[in-house]
Symmetry: C3
Subunit: 437 residues, 3 copies
């Protein structure tokens, strides 16, 4: 067999171990446990005599954790020959990303020269990885693990700068991170995808499609994301009633979004059938779009209207916009993150501007909300372009066009399909060539 | 290709969007957030100085949420060509049902003319959808999404009336809802199935069976239901020790039920093998049957005896009763909900009568428990029959017999099986007809 | 068809029901609900005025529950023809094991002659089943359900003795149970596997391998174990900051372990590819290895170093040690539990000795830690050997060599593969022999 330039035997282990050892050294210098002594009296709930306990947010954290590792991991297993890569590389990127995110976000909030790790901080570390996992969706199947590790470092670093700007300088609202995670992650990924444009995939690829069972695996991801999204949008809200408001708004926006996504999917498909791609993705757009104003007093029906619109634009985006982006702008968005995170994220940012202008919260200003949205898009597009050019350097082991969307390039897949197939035919008694065993 | 009468292109989107818009209007008029001010001092736990916080029940809510969307969704993916429909339509019906349930249940508990949405209320909204998802099991594969949306509205409305009667008028105990959800949902569904009887399916259907991997997907549903059932049965119990009692009783009943279900499955199958249908379903009957008296002081061994009996009758029901119902009574119960929810639900109601008569709780009376069981069965049978006749109207796009149990009638399934197969044979280099791409 | 000696028709139901009825009688005599009155003031957190409420640990319990039933259940579904057995028998063993564990552990902590069941106790009952599920991995595919039920009783009984010795007599630290669960379960299982050595499997078995989708099912198990491991290691820690410390140490150790497992996997595989077996298992070794000192003040970077080493030795073990154990020592470790639980468990025990010696906790002594590790290994090896000889008795229905790793010996598998295959070829219109229908 020929030696591919995609052989990762030394590149990948050396990069991964080097990064990890540097990270451990940085943790040794900068990180310790939160001892609870640095807490001010800033974010108290309105329940009387409430003292914050160190584990209060732990169930919320675990919900978010499930979204990151199961939700994002399985959502994008729909490709027939790429499920192992998606789940496996998702775990790799998120595991490294959360360490890097703890450092990058923590640098802005040091106490006595130390980053004090709490449940609140590890929730935010998980959040920071979400941006990478969203961008990963745009370039899925066309990048090597080495390229993706590089993207992880750069994207989380840039994310942390924008997040600090939005939250601390502009004092903008974005509790559910429509702008700083969803829109940011989507446009960052689209910008990378544009730079990595592959003319050879312009007419599609044999492996770019799903099979029956891969669609069911993807639904595991969809449903876990859908269920736990109220935790995502409320985890870092002020405790008490603001948190309850964020849960209820997200719960209702998502429920409404399901109905509009199904309705539009049936309307635009031939013979009125439902399309799995729409169902797997557009049903989640309500969670994205209600993010910025999740903890505001927009009333339940306000959240539902946001969800209704999000489901419509997301489904229409999958049907009509994704093909145009690919053919006219050279943006090959494998998973359609523009439809699930991009446009609904902008919708969320706009809804936030309107809600603040209408006085639905007593924090922030509409101008600062608009600045936050602009900042998130700007950092994403520029940061993504720079990252894309670095990823394009020819020695990161990127796959040739014909091996895109194929697990077997970077993974030992179980066995030859031919053998699997023989077993299924009940002809397993053939002599086998089990050189691997 | 011929235009089927099953084309949903306009029927479904119009119905779904109309229902959703009506619902949003009703939410705008009637619903707001719970501000905690309407809480009385009724349900305090016996721990001192305990003040109820708005998010206390949130982890329990998420467990119930997982049961509804993952548990019910995947439990019934065992059919070889219907997994996508089950998971997908499950999401659709539950997403609409929880909105409708919030309204229907909330109407009985308005404060200042408003339904104040709390975690407690969204748990109950999730509960109300469980009835529909149970009934869905009886008619799975033989109904269109349009028919099922209609069933959702009618069943939740009727459920809410019966629930109000049982809980507020009769003051009956049913903390885990053996009667008002499980027995109700099962007999409602069986009643619908009887009205929709299809003589053409009397000798079975080629698609009515499982394949290897579909059984594993179904086990995802089974195990999540099994694990979180203690949350289902204790979520709305009084906080503190009554809630602990409900958790422990359910945990032990379920564990015992597994042993009896496995034992009986092996006993009745030829050569002593275990049957996946029994394992997927009858292992859960202990959770159903202990529901009514879950928070009562029945002692751990009492809960275990209930679980033991539930596992036996459920497994025997799958083996012997389901075929008789189909052939003699014209009740074609696709998923055997009679065995998982019907008989164990009645067993739960009867256990509740006995437990109240024996003084295992200081609330309610045995007579009222019996009335609650009768009311639940009565509403279910009559309500289900009426609903069935409405669903039978010939313009809801129901599938013809030969297309039952087949995803591809209402869903864009990934690609032709033939092509999938070629890929698996490693012959992907054939010229392909990818008209869809 | 010939009547196998593996027919379980009477053996299995009689054993299962007898055990269950004995267990119910023991529960009737010994068990009641925890009423909270026996609680001393021993384990208070350092938050002021903290009163322990009966349901405080419930979310942690549910995380552990998911690890036991989904995590262990699906982790070992990777075998192409044994997924149903693994998930199904996992449920059976854990459901019985948790009852038996409640009794065996409870006997050492009776109040007023009663075992008072609390959330804390059912977490520990779940823990005790983990030992059995680990050992199950070593003998997977080569044992009958009857043999495994026998192993469950014996292993949990022996585990409870060792646990009491370690925790109460030696006063050793093992909050995340590196020694008393992971090392114990692994070496117990390896000892059983040695006694049950099958020369006929020395050259491998046609069914011993994975297929594409079975690897994705296994990843469901891997990821749920990975995500909830912080709950496993912190569930029974002292509330408050010790619990937070255990969460953070475990979170970071696991994240680091992912990087080292991926790096080493790529380094040792030909052409630098990643191996699914390593990814499914070695990524979890960090959770095992940080267990003993999870709640100690080892600093975040200390936890990360433990995770880094654990990922390396676990991956190398899969690659180089498992084949040697099988060929030279006659230990056929189906799932490689030695690499995931055995060596990382010992590493955890050693790390605990060092951490105590360095004063990272104010409880216990390094000598007692060493004694605890020795005790766990000794009980495991001797107990496993005795259990193995009992399991080897010729009337428990063990599978012949040629039927190992095959679900169809003890399970009704859905349908003939040949028929399934025809459906996939789209030739379903053939006349079928549906004798089973």
């Amino acid at each position: 067999m020929p030696a591919y330039a995609t052989n990762m035997r030394f590149k990948f282990p050396i990069l991964a171990l080097t990064l990890e050892i540097i990270t451990i050294i940085l943790f040794a210098v900068f990180c310790t446990y939160d001892d609870g002594k640095g807490h001010g009296h800033d974010a108290e709930s309105n329940s009387t005599a409430h003292t914050k306990k160190p584990m209060d947010l732990y169930p919320m954290f675990q919900d978010v954790h499930v979204m990151i590792f199961i939700g994002f991991g399985f959502l994008m297993t729909f490709l027939k020959r790429y499920g192992v890569s998606r789940v496996g590389v998702n775990l790799l990127l998120a595991a490294f990303g959360l360490q890097w995110g703890l450092l990058m976000q923590g640098l802005w909030h040091m106490e006595d020269g130390k980053i004090k790790i709490s449940i609140f901080k590890i929730i935010n570390a998980d959040f920071s990885t979400a941006t990478v996992l969203i961008s990963f969706g745009a370039v899925l199947g066309k990048t090597s693990p080495v390229q993706l590790l590089i993207m992880t470092i750069l994207e989380i670093t840039i994310f942390s700068i924008n997040e600090h700007l939005v939250a601390e300088i502009l004092n903008a609202n974005d509790v559910g991170a429509s702008m700083i995670i969803h829109a940011f992650g989507a446009y960052f990924g689209l910008s990378v995808a544009r730079v990595l444009y592959r003319p050879g995939l312009q007419n599609g690829h044999d492996n770019e499609g799903s099979v029956y069972h891969s669609d069911l695996f993807a639904m595991i991801g969809t449903v876990f994301l859908w269920m736990f999204w109220p935790s995502f949008n409320s985890a870092i809200a002020d405790p008490g009633f603001p948190q309850l408001t964020a849960v209820i708004n997200t719960y209702l926006s998502l429920a409404t979004c399901v109905l509009s996504a199904y309705a539009i999917s049936s309307l635009v498909e031939h013979k009125g059938k439902l399309d799995m791609v729409h169902i797997q993705n557009a049903t989640l757009a309500g969670g994205v779009a209600v993010g910025t104003c999740a903890d505001m007093n927009i009333e339940p029906f306000g959240a539902m209207l946001i969800g209704l619109v999000a489901g419509v634009i997301s489904t229409l985006g999958f049907k009509y916009l994704t093909p145009i982006l690919a053919s006219n702008l050279g943006i090959q968005d494998t998973c359609g993150v523009h439809n699930l995170h991009g446009m609904p994220g902008i919708l969320g940012g706009l809804a936030g501007i309107v809600a603040v202008a209408l006085g639905k919260t007593n924090k922030g200003s509409a101008t600062m909300q608009a600045a936050a949205l602009g900042s998130s898009l700007g950092f994403a597009l520029v940061g993504g372009a720079i990252t894309g050019f670095i990823m394009k350097l020819p020695f990161w082991g990127q796959p040739p066009d014909q091996n895109c969307f194929d697990d077997s390039l970077y993974w030992e897949v179980p066995e030859e399909e031919h053998e699997e197939h023989e077993d299924m035919l009940g002809q397993a008694d053939h002599s086998k060539n089990k050189a691997e065993a």
